[in-house]
Symmetry: C2
Subunit: 304 residues, 2 copies
């Protein structure tokens, strides 16, 4: 029996007669294979990637497992439809805090159609993608038993400036991450979730090293998911902090060039997270470090 996933934070969602992904009770995620180019391109990517012997295992683990395609009853009641069968990344996770981060200042490939480029460029300029090199595409932060999840509307965070995004990345790993944007996060899980030899930062750095070298694929409009479980962290257990790459409808061949667009955005995200770990008392010095910066930069920027 398939059901609507509990912890989807971005993308089309099933329910209310709409088409969206489903999960089963054995850890599989069924993503509708749309009839357009996106569906066939994502299937082509998974097919290529899963059989590509040049992908090292320590990189392969950052991608969902792929189990082929299958005809299953679609969530919109349209009957049996082809679905990609993937790993359910939240299978057996307990109240996972999740951030979906679309990587790259540019979400379109040079060889995409004019209409698509125009649409994407407009959105990249309206959101954080262009200034930050990535944008938040969805998140849920588990707060505590009383408050449950904090899961705001996408439109409220897609276009946030750098300081607000840094604040959210701090709230993600705080025990007091209430919805009020003014509350100061305590970052009490930063070192156990972001830090350490198996933490999020280490995983992002492994991914970065691969992107500095690989010229096989270029990933446009793909996301990095950051996931962990706060209740485990609170009890001194492993928070099961993990990154995964998802959404491959716009992957293209690398043609002998690294994916400089994805790599640049990934490095920007890495800098955001490493600052949380390295700035002493990181959750409170934001204002003063900004003041220092302001005093030292005094050159004017014109409209050119």
């Amino acid at each position: 029996m398939l059901k609507v996933p509990n912890h989807q934070v971005a993308g089309h969602q099933a329910g209310d007669g709409k088409l969206g992904p489903l999960v089963d009770d054995s850890g599989r995620f069924y993503k509708p294979l749309q009839g357009n180019k996106r569906g066939s391109n994502e299937l082509a990517f998974y097919t290529s990637f899963s059989s590509n012997t040049r992908i090292p295992d320590h990189i392969r683990r950052f991608f969902p497992n792929f189990y082929g395609t299958q005809l299953v009853e679609a969530s919109d009641g349209s009957g049996l439809q082809p679905h990609l069968v993937l790993q359910d990344l939240n299978f057996r996770r307990v109240k996972p805090s999740i951030m979906d981060i679309k990587i790259g200042s540019r979400t379109w490939a040079p060889q995409a159609s004019e209409d698509y480029i125009h649409k994407c460029l407009k959105k990249d300029r309206e959101t954080s993608s262009l200034p930050l090199g990535f944008r938040l595409s969805g998140f849920q932060i588990y707060q505590n038993r009383e408050l449950g999840f904090w899961k705001p509307e996408r439109t409220s965070f897609q276009s946030l400036p750098a300081d607000e995004v840094k604040l959210l990345l701090r709230k993600l790993v705080s025990s007091n991450a209430y919805a009020n944007l003014d509350s100061k996060p305590d970052c009490s899980f930063a070192s156990i979730v972001y830090g350490g030899s198996t933490g999020i930062l280490s995983q992002l750095l492994e991914l970065k090293a691969w992107f500095e070298d690989q010229t096989i694929y270029h990933f446009y409009s793909s996301s990095v998911l950051i996931m962990y479980e706060k209740e485990f962290a609170s009890n001194g257990k492993s928070p099961r902090a993990e990154i995964k790459l998802i959404d491959f409808a716009h992957v293209y061949e690398g043609q002998g060039v690294i994916d400089h667009n994805f790599l640049g955005g990934l490095c920007s995200l890495i800098k955001f997270i490493s600052e949380i770990l390295t700035i002493p008392d990181g959750c409170t010095t934001e204002a003063s470090s900004k003041d220092i910066e302001k005093n030292q930069i005094y050159f004017e920027n014109g409209t050119t």
Copy 2:
């Protein structure tokens, strides 16, 4: 007495009554300070950068020295005009081979004017910038006493695909780099120019490490110059291989974010150069490595 520089490979050039930079005989380079925003922005950058105590010395050496501004007789006969006084990067260089590489798949800042963005985006798409993350903006390769310099027109190399750009980067460090694009470069100076602890690759990696961290400046439409002297290399002496950053009319404040656009392009260039050093017999295996790649990637890319 000021004169037209011998080894300028890109940008406005003096001579024939046109406005362009001049050099003196003591190692200074005079760049006309145009009355528009570009001139004032480049001056503001040099002023900020030269007094910024957060720039480490091993990074500062990659930038031209700045000696303020000075009124000098302009090359177009328009009388005394303000000029930026900079280090002449080719002072006392002997027949330098030079490549001017404009870094970044995007040459425009998010906050630039609509007209400027439109103009730059068009050019980024028409040239190598978008696919490669950088484009060749000018070069001269010293061949030998008989043939002198090979210095083709800019329009002939701005839009080259990856393979042709790799070939040019090989020709830059070859003893048989004749103008014929079909001749196979011997890469005989690759290890001494690109390689080693003080070579071009090491310098680019130092610059990269800084760009992974610094959030002070974002550099749009700036170039990395690669320079060395073939006659020294041929005689077993140091080829004086050096990189420099130039052209800062479109530098903006970083606002707490790394320059992911410049960094991505820089990493792409680094990959191009490291391939020359690491692929065995790098100057001849181009075709076969391409064939391997073609056989392993078989997924289709649609127009999305």
